[in-house]
């Protein structure tokens, strides 16, 4: 057993290095953990998304760049997990975040990235994801609109509101 999914991909489909299964999995996992905060949940979402897509033939049928499209699948899977999460599970995940360094400790260690990550983790999911899709995953506004299933014309204003929120939270560190 253990036949790799990549064997299922059509020859010539992997012309774009960003679209091979490994690369998509890495990006997908990063988004899943950014939204879910728990390693095991993120891995399950990636596994489930890959199986559904490749097994159903959608991976091979898809023309053009696949990254934004795959992130959309991951996002939907992750939001589904969030919806099904019980309050006590949510509290356990929040506890995971609290176990990180306190902002004061992080400042001492000059870890601005660490504080930003903590702040992002406590922001509303919709604001967190739009910032990360742009600044971490480097998607264009059109791709963000596709992933989040919103109108392209609203991406800039939503993103700006989210950035302003983060900027307010980070004000004393900037």
């Amino acid at each position: 057993m253990g036949i790799a999914l990549r064997d299922k991909m059509n020859a010539g489909q992997g012309e774009n290095a960003q679209d091979d299964i490994e690369s998509l999995s890495d990006h997908g996992f990063a988004l899943a953990i950014q939204l879910l905060g728990r390693h095991e949940d993120a891995a399950d979402v990636v596994q489930d998304s890959l199986r559904k897509l490749v097994h159903s033939g959608q991976y091979n049928a898809r023309r053009g760049p696949k990254r934004a499209w795959f992130l959309k699948v991951i996002r939907n899977g992750a939001l589904d997990v969030l919806r099904k999460r019980k309050p006590e599970e949510e509290a356990a995940v929040a506890q995971l975040k609290d176990d990180d360094l306190s902002p004061a400790e992080a400042v001492e260690q000059n870890e601005l990235k660490h504080i930003i990550r903590q702040q992002l983790g406590t922001m509303d999911v919709a604001q967190r994801e739009i910032i990360l899709l742009r600044d971490f995953h480097d998607l264009t506004y059109a791709e963000i609109a596709e992933v989040m299933e919103i109108r392209a014309g609203t991406v800039m204003s939503r993103l700006h509101r989210a950035r302003q929120e983060l900027r307010q939270r980070m004000r004393r560190y900037l």
Binding site: M1, G2, I3, A4, L5, R6, D7, K8, I21, E22, S25, D26, F29, A30, I33, Q34, H39, A42, A43, D44, V45, V46, Q47, D48, S49, L50, R51, K52, L53, V54, H55, Q58, V73, N76, G77, D80, V81, K84, L112, K113, I116, R117, L120, L132, R134, D135, F136, D138, T140, Y141, M156, S157, L159, H160, R163, Q164, L166, R167, M170, L174
Partner: protein, 150 residues
Amino acid sequence: MKCNCEDIETLLSGYLDGELTQGDRQRVEVIMEDCEDCAKTFEEMKKLRGEIGGIEYEHMTEAERLKAAKDPVAETGASLGQILVIGGFILFYGSCIYLALKEMLANPDTPILIKIGLPAIFLGFGVLLTSVVIDRIKASKTDPYKDVEI
């Protein structure tokens, strides 16, 4: 030049991301030259953006990577093979047991304890097997991720 910061604020994000038309881009550049507040907001957003791009998040473990990359079709085929082999064994041995028991029970010389004990042992195996199968079915039905929408 007086700047109404709220009017152009949203454009600062578009400018940072290279998503503005040429006209809007020039408008933002002119305003930022004159408005310290807008220039400061832009610099802070730019700094945050740079930092976010470098945040380290966990990676999948090698075991998770391998698990995710397994082909479900091959696994389904293997499961089907297992079911056929196990099912075949059950039918074959079941038939042998049935024939042996039938003959033994019909024989008036067989002691009564053996007539009760042997069928009880085979029945017990059957009950255990059924309970394991039911557990497996329950586990697969309550899989929290099987309904994840694409």
